[in-house]
Symmetry: C2
Subunit: 453 residues, 2 copies
Amino acid sequence: MREHSGLLTDLYELTMAAGYVEHGFAGRATFELFVRHLPPRRSYLVAAGLEQALDYIAHVSFTSEEIAYLRGHPAFAQVGPRFFDFLASFRFHGDIWALPEGTIFFPGEPLLRVKAPIAEAQILETYLLSTLSFQTLIATKAARLYTAAQGRSVIEFGTRRAHSIGSGVLAARAAYIGGCQGTSNVYAGHAFGIPTYGTQAHSWIMAQESEAEAFRRFVELFPNHAVLLLDTYDVRAAVETILAAKLKPRAVRLDSGDLAADSIWVRRRLDAAGWQDVQVFASGDLDEDRVAELLARGAQIDGFGVGTALSTSSDAPALGVVYKLAEMEESGAVRVAAKFSHAKATYPGSKQVFRFADAQGKFARDVIALDDEHLPGGTPLLVQVMHAGQPTLPQEPLGRLRVRFLDSFQRLPEPLRRLDAAETYPVRHSARLEAMLGQVRERVSRASSRTTR
Amino acid sequence: MREHSGLLTDLYELTMAAGYVEHGFAGRATFELFVRHLPPRRSYLVAAGLEQALDYIAHVSFTSEEIAYLRGHPAFAQVGPRFFDFLASFRFHGDIWALPEGTIFFPGEPLLRVKAPIAEAQILETYLLSTLSFQTLIATKAARLYTAAQGRSVIEFGTRRAHSIGSGVLAARAAYIGGCQGTSNVYAGHAFGIPTYGTQAHSWIMAQESEAEAFRRFVELFPNHAVLLLDTYDVRAAVETILAAKLKPRAVRLDSGDLAADSIWVRRRLDAAGWQDVQVFASGDLDEDRVAELLARGAQIDGFGVGTALSTSSDAPALGVVYKLAEMEESGAVRVAAKFSHAKATYPGSKQVFRFADAQGKFARDVIALDDEHLPGGTPLLVQVMHAGQPTLPQEPLGRLRVRFLDSFQRLPEPLRRLDAAETYPVRHSARLEAMLGQVRERVSRASSRTTR
């Protein structure tokens, strides 16, 4: 795949862009990307994916071969050369504001705001939605596992079940932001500097005549890193094999069976042998509920490997994220835009989110306001990340994004941190924004009644 | 992302490979990739993703910079130069058999079988699992939408909610194999020759002062392709606007509200105006149940745009696909391998799937057998696609894969085609395979009791 191809979008973004260019719409549009509703059982979201989104925006282009494809597309049969010239020299000239990655946020709050010539902003829609929604989904799921594990480590193991290999790489990144300690994905480790984990699978054992021999060879080759997998044939027999041969590993791993009971038995047996420093690691169809349940049952597990449930956010595999026109600026005049169709109304105007904390520094409430409002005591959350198509901030190290999440998480009121939150975080719109919504509703209703009369 | 990077794998594949190389395991292993169980409400699976898997296998490599990263990884601290030399000259030398894309198959049946030096076969595991499981998942979901739409067209619209942009491109490909008529994803259209669809979003309307003017400009620019979106403000007012201005489009689209009632009203109004050839298209949080329900309610809809539910297979976002060692061939001797841990037993031996049809040509039953068995009357489904690391077959055009699915679907017994199947397709193992499982079980149990005694 050509990573910065302008064709990485929906066809209608390009037909609309053709319409804007052909009709000479020079206006600058403000689009806002936000989540409509929390997925089931979520009480907050963790922003992620901005780095990939900005990298795309900074480099997106159309090759002559890609433009030739569009010229030959039946939809563009009547479109003149102006649009294809526009594509040939396409680059993004706009401004972008966004929530820094690792920020905890809520529905209705813009995760990203784009102000740019409307054709440019339109073409980016599809890429921005898929990039930000996916990583935000996974970072949010990781935060739930971080919660459930109560300080024990969680390693992201899900590349094999991710929605394509590239999705696995990005899931590893997002999971790390959301509190995971590392990943099994080597490419993500290399590309993003994430700690990587993993040692042996059942196939290592099965490929050899004897389990004892398979363990011995592994500990010899990886004296400080071997994590021996116990459940290929029989967990307790495997532990006895390791003890009898004095093959002290760094850790052992359970991947099936009754993880609570087996971990308690294994821990006791290792301790009795004086191997208190050998850790017990567990994996196998885990999710945050299984992790919480295992710990509630007294499981003696030091770390969890979580795959499918984390890397696909399997209980809530999509985020209802949208990219909506909020404002049009043309010939110096600003016109705000809103949509009122069934249950999908959007607020008009270019917005900022202000967060208010209580005396202890805990997050108390957010107010979504117009970006030129000043709300004393509130911290504005959206920061400018691009000006006239150029990044305005240096790229942050991934570790700092993870720390931002961990710090924010500590400031989230305790009832909201639970797997099933007891409260909803208070988010409201400013008085000016509410008034503006009413005005737009009235304007559109007048225009519409004129039309149908 | 470097598309053919050998680092696109889990760390444990590389530590095991290091173990095989350092211990001089020259044996050829057979690994089989199969699905353990059907996802909820599925009664069959549609194979997809082979082309991307084979492309990776044919080109996978490790750069010197990637090898330097591994050398510096603490896990490899004690690993000698032999393994890093192996990576530097890495290429795949093995043989591969697979189900052709578009084939309907069932749990337990190998979707792919690899026979190769064990370290090579091991390293590929993660990539193969993620690539084949994702596209198979989406092709299978598409088949359900194809079923529900009863001959009407279904267009894949889900890139924005896919798990990253690359996942969206591959979802478009898989959805087309599974019976969709096209996609909104332009890159997929260009790369794979899939028909692409889409014209305007709400933002086109909202960006302009008047809906009527927005419609007029669009129909002028796209006289044969305009699909006008009716629900930005008010569906019925929009239809009257279009009729009053005589802006005859190719189709209209409903994206929210009561799609059944609105489509009936719109159809009647268009027909009354003599616009019988203007199609009605629907979208907006659709899935196979919604499509079936709309048609059952008499909705007058000619085509459906389906996004999130299709491109994330949201009701079943992961496939329980595994890659298991079945056989080891070393110094001329063959040893079969199986695993018996809790509820996760696998059959040993290198396998083939034979499909038997009834007198009408409908699929009657499958038998999973050893690959050297001959079952008279059964058609072997796995075909060799790679020999000694080289593809053995020309790449098939995507349209042919779609036709293979559509043909197979017609041969699937009707009760299995329903959204909630009334039957389970019969798949059994050959007598030789059952006997072999018993023998391996006995061998491992003897070996294990020796160890623990």
